[in-house]
Every structure is written in structure tokens, then in C-alpha cells.
């Protein structure tokens, strides 16, 4: 009989076990190569594409014509492709696993949304196309506006803001315009201590000074402190509901009443709208302006710097000041109000050159229509249920910051359970990477010591939540059992080990410069 194994071992025990400290000869890990910067690759003087020489432009450019090498690396198409695909393999994404960043809402981006956004009729539009040729896109914007207004119980919406913080800016500009129209410019904005950092930043950017409102021991706005700080110079309050502790502001009706009584407007940070969509209409709570992160509540892609979309809904009092453009029904179909005259005479201006992020509008609208009104309500219910499941399962080994009652869409733990173990929140988060999970949000909100904020979203199954909880429970037990090295050196198995955050912050290297003597040829020639 002939054995066709040609010397190849066929059973695992034939393979010599390797030491745990094994390293490859080249720095690679498995099939993941060690990746140099694109500038450090041996690609100088090459080009991946043949282009004909440019003729005639020199006359137009005069003395602006470049005479020295531009100093960019040259790569062939496969080299460029592989470089960026390899980098992407070292990254983590919602398409790889649960991404439990609290307050950032990393939920699955349904592929149906992506398919719709790629339809040529939406994807290939030019923002200056004649209105008669883009009636379909305007119809989608009009219907998206209708859904956003209906879900929030608000009469007006500005679609053009490009992100949550841009939406905050839009809301506060509308508030400032409303006060100025009354001849009563005010100078202060009240913000609770647990707010997203963008809230006080936005208020300051608009020219207001910021006063903090204290928080009660159970993690809500302190009504007495709010009442004491409200006054004739307060333009607005900015409250997130549910707040960044993952708690519903139970006194929100009273907060709105006190605010309006003082002649101020109520800005609600709608970042956490995903916890109440379909269940609560912010307009019924007395909110005057609220941004909605389409990338959070309505599942458009999030992270990587955008594109985002942060439409702002406005109350009757603020609606006249909404920025252009918006869609209106005219005799010849849909059209856009672009000029700040007539019906838009009080509009405070514009938030962007054109209409906003069309691709995000399509994705968000596809998400709404594929879920329907009942489906969106279930989104909120499941998001809250999942967060409470995590809170309940982990409360045996970790300490919830607010143990009383249920949480909303995110579960918040403090670090008192780590006391005496020698392990910090940061160490624990890094060890999660070795176990295959992206860390939770840590050290935020600032009002909770060593905070760990976990947001599972509605898109995770019970099996996935259990895998996550099992990993965290095992890690927590290891920390309490004194297995400190597992944490202090973590991550051991990630493409990059623990970074020196202090050195990176104190001596940041933000640009690449050739090292003297080893510069690639085109640069050395300069």
C-alpha cells in the first residue's frame, strides 16, 4: 500500500507544541503580516497606473508648476489594496463582533439599507441637479421628515446637520435666534454634570457661558439645584434623556416646566433616543429642540469619521428659526425652500451648503420602513431588555453604579468591585481584547469612579450576550483571584500591545518624516 502523505504529519500529536513565548522571524502573526507605514514601504519611484503626460497645463499654472518630486510613495494596485485590507484586518468592526461601547450605540447596519443607498437614483445624484429631476430623492427626504416629526411629536425638522454635535449647534443657534427675536439675548446655558462633553462645548461655541447642574445620588438631574440656577439670563438647558448613566430622567416634565417658567428653552440631547423611540415622544415631554443621531437610533454606519447625520426636530416656538433648506409641496411637485425670505424670513441661516447626507437619509428611511411603527417600538424595548439582562448577569461579580431599579439602553458599573485587586478599569478593558471583545466605554460618565458603560443594543441575540457575559465573569473572577499579570500586560494577543498613552499625549508624532540618511530617493534628491 502506498501512503500519499509524503512525510506530512496527519495527527495533531505529531506536531511539536510551541512555547507560549513563540514569535515569528519576520514579526508576522499567522497570516497577518507586520504592517509598515505606507511611506516606509519600498515603493518610491514606482507608479501603479500609467497616465499620459499632461500637456498644455503649464501655460495656465505659470510659476506654480511643481518642479520637485511630490514625495509620495508609489505602489502597484495589489500593493495598495493589500496595505489597506491588512490594516482593516487589524481593526475591529460591528461586522466582526459585539461592540459594546456605551453611549456610542454600535448596532448592526442592515444590508438592506446599504442596498437601497446604492441605488443609482440616490447614490449618483448631484446636489445641484434640477429639482424636476430629483423628485424621488425629495420625496424620500419629505417622508423621512414626516417619520422623524411623528416619532418625536415635534412640528418641524432640519435635516441638514451632519452629525450629533452639528445638530446641537443647529438647535442652540435656533434658540439664540428665538431669544434675539424677542430682544432678550441671554448668556447662560445649564448642563448637568453627566452630560456628553459636546453639550458644554456647543454652548460655549455659540457664545454662552456654561453652568453645571448637580446630580442626585440616584443619577438624575437635581431639581433643587436646577431651580436655584435658572434665572432671567439662562437661555437654555441641555439634558440628555435617557442620560449618560443609562437612566430615564423621571422628573423630565418638571424640568421642562421649570425651564419654560424661567423663559428658557429645553434642548434635549437625543443621542439616546434609541432607548425610547416608538414609546415616548419628546414633544410630549416639553422638549423644544432635539437632535437625532441617525447613525445611532436608525442604524446608519457609525464611526470612522462619518458621514454622519444629526437632524434636529424643533417645537412650535423654535420652528420659525429652522435653517434652510427644507422640502415643501408646490404646484409642480416637491421643491426646496432655499432663501431666507417669506416663509423662511426668520430662518437663522444654513447648517451646510446643500441638503445634508443623502446616503444616510436613505439608510435611515429604509430602516424605519423595514421595521414599521411596531418594529421601531420593539427596537427600544429590546435595547432596554438587553442592557438589563447584562446588568442582571454581571451584578453578581461587578458593582452597578445605580443598583436600584432597571436601566435603559446601557448598563453602568463602577470600579469599587476591583478595589484591592490591583487591577484598574483600563486593565480590565484591555484584557477584554484578549478574550475577543471590544472594550466597553470606560471612565465615562465622569460622575462615576472608574466607570464601565456597556451598551449591547437590540441587535445582539441572547446567545451572544451570554458569550459576552461569560467572558466578563471569567475575567472578573480572575481579577479577584489575584491573576494580576493577565490584566497588567494586556492585550497580549492583539496586533498591537498596550500603548504608552502618556508618551503619545505628551510627545505626539503626527506626521511622518524621513529619517536622515535613509530617506527614499525622491525625497533625498530635494
Amino acid at each position: 500500500m502506498t501512503m500519499q502523505t509524503v512525510g506530512r504529519p496527519t495527527r495533531p500529536e505529531d506536531v511539536q507544541p510551541l512555547d507560549a513565548g513563540f514569535t515569528s522571524l519576520t514579526g508576522g502573526r499567522g497570516l497577518l503580516q507586520d504592517e509598515a507605514l505606507i511611506f516606509e514601504r519600498d515603493g518610491w519611484g514606482k507608479t501603479g497606473v500609467d497616465l499620459p503626460p499632461v500637456e498644455g497645463s503649464a501655460d495656465d499654472l505659470g510659476d506654480l508648476v511643481r518642479t520637485r518630486p511630490i514625495g509620495l510613495p508609489g505602489l502597484s494596485e495589489p500593493e495598495a489594496m493589500r496595505h489597506y485590507v491588512r490594516l482593516s484586518q487589524k481593526n475591529h468592526a460591528i461586522d466582526l463582533a459585539l461592540y459594546p461601547l456605551g453611549s456610542c450605540t454600535m448596532k448592526h447596519n442592515p444590508r438592506l439599507n446599504e442596498k437601497m443607498a446604492r441605488l443609482a437614483g440616490f447614490a449618483d445624484l448631484h446636489p445641484m441637479a434640477p429639482l424636476a429631476t430629483i423628485q424621488g430623492a425629495l420625496t424620500l427626504m419629505d417622508r423621512l421628515s414626516h417619520w422623524l416629526k411623528t416619532l418625536t411629536g415635534m412640528p418641524a425638522v432640519a435635516l441638514s446637520p451632519k452629525a450629533g454635535a452639528h445638530g446641537e449647534l443647529c438647535g442652540l443657534l435656533a434658540i439664540r435666534a428665538a431669544h434675539e427675536a424677542k430682544g432678550d439675548p441671554r448668556r447662560r446655558v445649564l448642563v448637568p454634570t453627566s452630560a456628553h462633553g459636546t453639550n458644554p462645548a456647543t454652548a460655549a461655541f455659540v457664545g454662552y457661558s456654561v453652568t453645571e447642574i448637580a446630580q442626585t445620588d440616584d443619577g438624575r438631574v437635581d431639581l433643587a439645584d436646577l431651580a436655584a440656577k435658572l434665572g432671567p439670563d439662562v437661555a437654555a438647558i441641555m439634558v440628555t434623556n435617557p442620560n449618560t448613566c443609562g437612566l430615564f430622567e423621571r422628573d423630565i416634565i418638571e424640568i421642562a416646566r421649570l425651564t419654560h417658567e424661567a423663559g428658557a428653552y429645553f434642548y434635549c440631547d437625543g443621542a439616546n433616543f434609541n432607548a425610547i423611540v416608538g414609546r415616548v415622544r419628546p414633544g410630549d415631554l416639553g422638549v423644544d429642540a432635539m437632535h437625532i443621531n441617525l447613525h445611532k437610533t436608525f442604524s446608519t454606519p457609525h464611526g470612522g469619521g462619518g458621514p454622519g447625520a444629526g437632524p434636529v426636530v424643533l417645537s412650535e416656538a423654535l420652528a420659525p428659526f429652522a435653517p434652510a433648506p427644507w422640502v415643501v409641496h408646490g404646484p409642480d411637485g416637491l421643491t426646496l425652500v432655499e432663501e431666507t425670505v417669506e416663509e423662511a424670513a426668520q430662518a437663522f441661516g444654513r447648517m451646510s451648503a446643500f441638503h445634508g447626507q443623502m446616503g444616510m437619509f436613505v439608510r435611515a428611511y429604509a430602516y424605519m420602513r423595514s421595521h414599521g411603527a411596531d418594529g421601531l417600538r420593539q427596537v427600544a424595548e429590546d435595547a432596554v431588555l438587553n442592557a438589563n439582562y447584562i446588568k442582571a448577569r454581571l451584578s453578581g461579580v461587578m458593582t452597578p453604579a445605580f443598583p436600584e431599579g432597571p436601566c435603559m439602553h446601557e448598563a453602568l458599573f463602577d470600579d469599587s468591585w476591583l478595589e484591592g485587586t490591583g487591577v484598574t478599569t483600563l486593565d480590565f478593558a484591555k484584557a477584554m481584547i484578549d478574550e475577543g471583545f471590544h472594550p466597553m466605554t470606560m471612565y465615562f460618565p465622569l460622575v462615576v469612579h472608574g466607570a464601565m458603560l456597556i451598551e449591547p443594543t437590540e441587535t445582539e441575540s441572547k446567545q451572544e450576550l451570554d458569550r459576552f457575559c461569560d467572558a466578563l465573569i471569567a475575567l472578573a473572577e480572575a481579577a479577584k483571584a489575584g491573576d494580576v499579570d493577565r490584566f497588567k500586560g494586556a492585550p497580549y494577543l492583539a496586533p498591537m500591545r498596550r500603548l504608552d498613552e502618556t508618551l503619545a499625549a505628551r510627545k505626539p508624532r503626527l506626521t511622518w518624516k524621513p529619517e536622515p540618511g535613509v530617506a527614499p530617493a525622491p525625497l533625498a534628491a530635494e
Binding site: 471612565y443 465622569l446 498613552e501 502618556t502 499625549a505 505628551r506
Partner: protein, 121 residues
């Protein structure tokens, strides 16, 4: 030396108050990576923001414990913010402020009172 509940310290020499953050605050912040000190000549009221200290964990306002005019800022912190961790209650000072009312200084917590306050946190 006197202390505030916001973890600033003050030491008084004549009518000049030197202000910094306490060792407890520096330890809680972790590695300090950036300090924004006030402009000389700026007038501050007690409780106003005086400086900003940024660590790898968070950016925090440092409040003026007393009212007065900024005479000098610790420019060395721009190049060596780590001094705030190494010597928070000495070389890591933030600003010197000429104060008008020395009695406000006496009203702040002394070391024993501050230590007792830390026990309650």
C-alpha cells in the same frame, strides 16, 4: 497651606497666593499631559476657572480658590506637565495670584480638615 473641596491648594506669602492641585487630585487624574495656565494680569473671582489640567483620563478645570489678579503662571509646565504628578504641592504649582482679602484664605480648610474630607470620599 489651605485646601478646597475641589482639591486645589493655596499657600499664602504676604498677599500673594500660590495655587496648585493636591497630591490626591494628581493621583486621581493619572499622568498629566497638558496644563493650560492663565494669562498674567487676568482677574479671577473665587470659583472661576483658573487653569485646565488634562491627563490621559480626562480634562478638568482648576478653580480659583480666592479672588485676585494673576501675577505669574508656571510656564515650565508647558514643557514638563509631569511635574504636576511628581511634585503637585511644590514645583507643580499653576499660578500666583495677588489677593485682596486674606480672611478668605483663613476660611479655607487646613491640612487636617482636608485629610478628614478625603476620608469621606
Amino acid at each position: 497651606m489651605r485646601f478646597t473641596k475641589d482639591h486645589e491648594w493655596v499657600s499664602l506669602d504676604g498677599d500673594v497666593a500660590t495655587i496648585g492641585i493636591t497630591a490626591y487630585a494628581a493621583e486621581q487624574l493619572g499622568d498629566v499631559v497638558f496644563v493650560e495656565t492663565p494669562d498674567v494680569g487676568k482677574t479671577v473671582a473665587a470659583g472661576d476657572g483658573l487653569a485646565v489640567v488634562e491627563s490621559v483620563k480626562a480634562a478638568s478645570d482648576v478653580y480659583a480658590p480666592l479672588s485676585g489678579e494673576v501675577l505669574e503662571a508656571n510656564g515650565a509646565l508647558a514643557e514638563a506637565p509631569e511635574t504636576v504628578n511628581q511634585a503637585p504641592e511644590a514645583g507643580g504649582w499653576f499660578a500666583k495670584v495677588k489677593i485682596a482679602d486674606a480672611s478668605a484664605y483663613e476660611a479655607l480648610m487646613d491640612r487636617a480638615a482636608y485629610d478628614a474630607y478625603l476620608e469621606t470620599l
